[in-house]
Amino acid sequence: MAPQGEPILEVRDLVKHFPLTQGIVLKRQIGAIKAVDGVSFDLHRGETLGVVGESGCGKSTLAKLLMALEQPTSGTVRVAGRDLGSARGAELKGIRRNIQMVMQDPYTSLNPRMTVGDIVGEPYEIHSEVAPKGDRRKKVQELLEVVGLNPDHINRYPHQFSGGQRQRIGIARGLALQPEIIVCDEPVSALDVSIQAQVINLLERLQNEFNLAYIFIAHDLSVVRHISDRVAVMYLGKIVEIGKDTEIYDRPSHPYTQALLSAVPVPDPEGREHRERIILQGDPPSPANPPSGCRFRTRCWKAQEICAEQEPLLQIRPGTDHESACHFAEAHDVVHVS
């Protein structure tokens, strides 16, 4: 799955600030939550970019920006060369068709009063050019079959399905418009362990079948590693490190990535006494008032004066083979026990 040619998704300096206001009648802006603060990356056809980070780091806001559900404060998102920000009307509708989403919680993201057929077929109401009215039922049944559900269950309601099956319904809905990009926001975290593997396998199979590109947002780092070609690590609205999965997992060079990876419990009790553990102190600072310079410096054991003064840019650092945003970036394997 080597990424080739033009990227299908180009994100440049994407910024989203949510205003904090004071006063009821005359709302004055007193600050802003800097949810996403300068994010850039490319995504190629058939590729999976994993996005990891703690809650509040801006992963989900990023997903909403990519879906044009939120207007960015600045920066651009280009889908197949077309700018999402400046598009209006029919053009915007066309772009949106190409980028769809699978939500986290299959219990709340499906309308309980609609049948499965209506849920999966609803995208056709808006984009009627994809499937003429007479064809829709057949199309929906095909989709149900593709995601491994019984096509005869088209008239059932969501509550008649288990969590894993509901997530399949959500995936079928995402596939309905034959998009090239699917944004998966924590698609398996609400599912039971034995069901997670089934859904991950389904996502991988669909990717091969339809050459889909995934943005895979998750906090489970082992799942992200399994499915991703490249991984971006976010901290307080910024990407602090991005690279191929092996680069991130075997040679992480940003201290935050190292801490994050070392915090993941390894499902093997062998040698657990000798495992390296970097335990970060405290919680991430508020995105309304991020630290100056490097945002991670308040929890970083390598922090020096320069970290407070100068913001480290996301670039390839000496001695490392992928981009990271740390003045003192240094590859250090924390996952493998020696």
Partner: protein, 351 residues
């Protein structure tokens, strides 16, 4: 495939399970059954669970939602709503006395003082309209009869013990003013307030980020070392279990299917369900390949499969599995598996 000749099942009575023979363990759950009466019928949430725990030990109870792991814990704590719940059979012995036979007032003496619990979702477990200091101090006021001032001082002390920064200033804050990790620390402070001998942690880190999870698990381990507390850790995270547990009880459909020291299970599971769970973990060397997935769905408690509850999903299934409930076969002194074909599972043959 037939069962190997001479396979005599050492079919132990559950009471023999309780750790070292002769001495009574700190806590022994013995053949516990819990059922819920619902409008659709009786849901048998726990069907004969037995496990034991000694001081300083960590037992991990592993299972999916609906496997009965939390219900067992709630039965130990005595916080099940009865009705609809009912305990038709079984014993929960704490230092030799059966908790289920005690009066409610006697139980509330044990609850919190001897056996305490940390819940999964700290935001809904804490009362939003009282300050955290008030809620921690309540433990001392109710159980120890302390005055308001003394109890508050104790609360601050505890908040420092669970490493909440600036405890003195934050004692009068409300739960919503704390982050998720800090709220979980407050829950832990409340649970260890009266120096319990057993701490039951029901998915204590499931709602938290990995970095915070590492902090909380480290805190729990430290508290355990300090006071030689026994811990029951209920979780579905195979990574957390591998990190902290001494022994594991794997639950499926209200039964324990495998009971073993932690190293044994991860090296060589003896039940197909435990094996399936371990194999479905994404592994580095198998990247790009399909993940092993246990097929099918967890069973419906109202309509349990006959015989072994795992048989519709099991790669080792034989005719016998459909008709006969497998007993908990003793494999070694510390290990048991509820599978007719545990030998084959252990060998890794067939499947």
């Amino acid at each position: 495939m037939n069962r190997p000749a001479g396979a005599v099942d050492t079919h132990l009575s559950p009471s023999l399970f309780s750790g070292s023979l002769g001495t009574e363990p700190l806590l022994a759950v013995d053949n516990l059954h819990v059922e819920f009466t619902t409008r659709q019928g009786v849901a048998r949430a726990v069907n004969g669970v037995s496990y034991s725990l000694d001081a300083g030990e960590t037992l991990a109870v592993l299972g999916e939602s609906g496997s009965g792991k939390s219900v067992t814990a709630q039965a130990i704590m005595g916080i099940l709503d009865m009705p609809p719940a009912r305990i038709p059979k079984g014993e929960i012995r704490f230092r030799g006395t059966d908790l289920l036979k005690l009066s409610e007032s006697a139980r509330s003496q044990i609850r919190g003082q001897q056996i305490a619990m940390v819940f999964q979702d700290a935001l809904s477990a804490l009362n939003p309209v009282f300050t955290v200091g008030w809620q921690i101090a309540e433990m001392f006021r109710v159980h120890r009869g302390m005055g308001r001032k003394a109890a508050y001082a104790k609360a601050i002390e505890l908040m420092e013990r669970v490493r909440i920064p600036a405890a003195k200033q934050r004692v009068n804050d409300y739960p919503h003013q704390f982050s998720g990790g800090m709220r979980q620390r407050i829950m832990i402070a409340m649970s260890i307030a009266l120096d319990p001998e057993i701490l039951i942690a029901d998915e204590p880190t499931t709602a938290l980020d990995v970095t915070v999870q590492a902090q909380i698990m480290e805190l729990l381990a430290e508290l355990q070392r300090e006071s030689n507390m026994a811990m029951i850790l209920i979780t579905h995270d195979l990574g957390v279990v591998a990190d902290v547990a001494d022994k594991i009880a794997v639950m499926y459909a209200g039964r324990i299917v495998e009971n073993a020291p932690v190293h044994d299970v991860y090296k060589n599971p003896a039940h197909p369900y435990a094996k399936g769970l371990l194999e479905s973990i994404p592994r580095v060397d198998l990247k790009g390949q399909e993940l092993y997935a246990i097929k099918g769905l967890p069973p419906n408690l109202l309509d349990m499969p006959t015989g072994c509850a795992f048989h519709p999903r099991c790669p080792y299934k034989q005719d016998e599995c459909v008709t006969e409930v497998p007993p908990l076969h003793q494999i070694s002194g510390t290990r048991s598996s509820a599978c007719h074909y545990w030998r084959e599972v252990l060998d890794g043959t067939a499947g």
